[in-house]
C-alpha cells in the first residue's frame, strides 16, 4: 500500500531521520531507536489511527551475520479503518534489555509483553504485572535466547523420582 510510505515519511519529519525504513513485498518496517519507541508508537496510535496492536514479538540476532543489535522487539500495527499495516522494530541490547511498556496504549499488549519477557528476558518498564506466562515460575532463564541450548540446562529433568514401592 502507498499509505504506509506516507506514514513513514511523516514519521521521519516528525521524529528525525534516524528512523530507517525497509520493506519486503507489502510489509513496511520502520526501525526506531529505543528511546523514541514510546513516542513513535503513541504518535502512530493517536495521530495515525493504528488502533490495533496485532502482536509484539522479538528476534534474537546473536551470531546473525552483520547484525548490530542483540534483539529486535517488533510491534505489528494495524489501522482498522484504512487496513493499513505497519511494522515497528526497536533494537534492544544487553545487559539491561528494557523498553517502555505499551499497555497504556493498547490493553492487549499485556500478555504479549509478558510472553516476550518470558522468552527473551526483555523488561517492559511500567508493565502492570510482568511475570512469566508460559514457563513455570521457578524457571530462571529465557529459552528463546540463542545462547540457551535447545535441550535446555536440564530443567526438564529436575524433578523428584517416584518409585513404585513408595507411591
Amino acid at each position: 500500500m502507498v499509505e504506509a510510505n506516507t506514514t513513514v515519511a511523516d514519521l521521519r519529519t516528525q521524529f528525525g531521520n534516524e528512523l530507517t525504513e525497509s520493506s519486503f513485498r507489502d510489509n513496511h518496517r520502520v526501525h526506531v531507536p529505543p528511546e523514541k519507541a514510546l513516542d513513535v508508537l503513541t504518535w502512530l496510535k493517536e495521530q495515525r489511527g493504528f488502533d490495533m496492536l496485532v502482536d509484539i514479538t522479538a528476534v534474537d540476532y546473536l551470531e546473525y551475520p552483520d547484525a548490530t543489535d542483540r534483539f529486535h522487539v517488533i510491534y505489528l500495527l494495524l489501522n482498522m479503518t484504512t487496513k493499513e499495516r505497519l511494522i515497528v522494530k526497536v533494537p534492544v541490547n544487553l545487559p539491561d534489555a528494557a523498553l517502555p511498556s505499551v499497555v497504556p496504549l493498547w490493553k492487549g499488549a499485556d500478555w504479549m509483553e509478558r510472553e516476550v519477557y518470558d522468552m527473551f528476558g526483555i523488561d517492559f518498564i511500567g508493565h502492570p504485572d510482568l511475570r512469566r506466562i508460559l514457563m513455570p515460575e521457578e524457571f530462571t532463564t529465557f529459552p528463546l535466547r540463542k545462547d540457551y541450548p535447545l535441550k535446555g540446562f536440564g530443567e526438564r529433568h529436575n524433578f523428584p523420582v517416584l518409585t513404585r514401592a513408595e507411591s
Binding site: K151, T163, E166
Partner: protein
C-alpha cells in the same frame, strides 16, 4: 471328585480370584495431553470398543481409577500434575505409557519436554508408535491383564519389591554435557551495546 462339592462352588486361591476381578475391570485414567489422546478416544469408541476387555470406564478422577494411560507428551510444567495424579490413584494401580512421546519424548527433544515419563513415575507397559494404533493399545491392555494375572497378589505386595525406578537416570551424561554449555559465547562483539545517538 472324592469329596462331594456342592453345585456352583469352586476352589481357587484368593490371589487368583482378586487378579481375575481386577484384570477384567481395569478403570483407565486417560491422561491425554496430545495427539495420542485422539487414538485413545478411538480405542474407546465403537469400532475398536475397549469395553470388550472390561476397560471402558474412563474416569476423569484419579481417585476412581486403577490404570493410568499416559497418552501424549508431558512437558515440565505438566509433570508435577502427572505425579500428583499418580499419587492420588488408589492401590492397586498400573500405568501404561502410550506412544513414542510418553515413552521417550519422541521427536520433541527440547528444553520443555520430559524425555520419557518412566524417569519420574513407574511404568508397567510401553506402547510404541506415533500414534499407536488402537489395536496396539488393546494389545497393551491384554498384556496388562496377563501381567496382573501372573504377578498380582491380593495385598499388592509385589509392588513393594520395586524400589528403584526403571527408566533412564534423570540426568544422563548428555544432559550434564549440555549443562556445561551454559557459558555464553565469549568475545562476541554483538554483546557490546552499540552506540545509539
Amino acid at each position: 471328585m472324592a469329596v462331594g462339592m456342592p453345585e456352583n462352588v469352586f476352589l481357587t486361591r484368593l490371589d487368583a480370584a482378586a487378579n481375575w476381578a481386577r484384570s477384567n475391570s481395569l478403570w483407565p485414567m486417560p491422561f491425554a495431553t496430545a495427539c495420542c489422546g485422539i487414538e485413545l478416544m478411538a480405542t474407546a469408541s465403537s469400532r475398536h470398543d475397549i469395553a470388550r476387555f472390561g476397560a471402558e470406564v474412563m474416569r476423569f478422577s484419579p481417585r476412581q481409577c486403577d490404570l493410568l494411560i499416559v497418552a501424549g507428551r508431558v512437558v515440565m510444567k505438566m509433570l508435577p500434575v502427572l505425579q500428583r495424579i499418580w499419587q492420588q490413584m488408589p492401590e492397586p494401580k498400573w500405568c501404561i505409557s502410550m506412544g513414542a512421546c510418553a515413552c521417550t519424548g519422541g521427536v520433541f527433544d527440547t528444553y520443555a519436554v520430559v524425555q520419557g515419563v518412566d524417569r519420574f513415575i513407574p511404568v508397567d507397559m510401553y506402547v510404541p508408535g506415533c500414534p499407536p494404533r488402537p489395536e496396539q493399545l488393546i494389545a497393551a491392555v491384554i498384556d496388562m491383564q496377563e501381567k496382573i494375572k501372573r504377578t498380582g497378589t491380593l495385598t499388592g505386595k509385589e509392588f513393594e519389591t520395586r524400589t528403584t525406578h526403571m527408566g533412564p537416570q534423570p540426568f544422563d551424561v548428555d544432559e550434564l554435557r549440555r549443562m556445561r554449555e551454559m557459558v555464553p559465547v565469549e568475545g562476541l562483539t554483538i554483546y557490546d551495546p552499540p552506540k545509539l545517538n
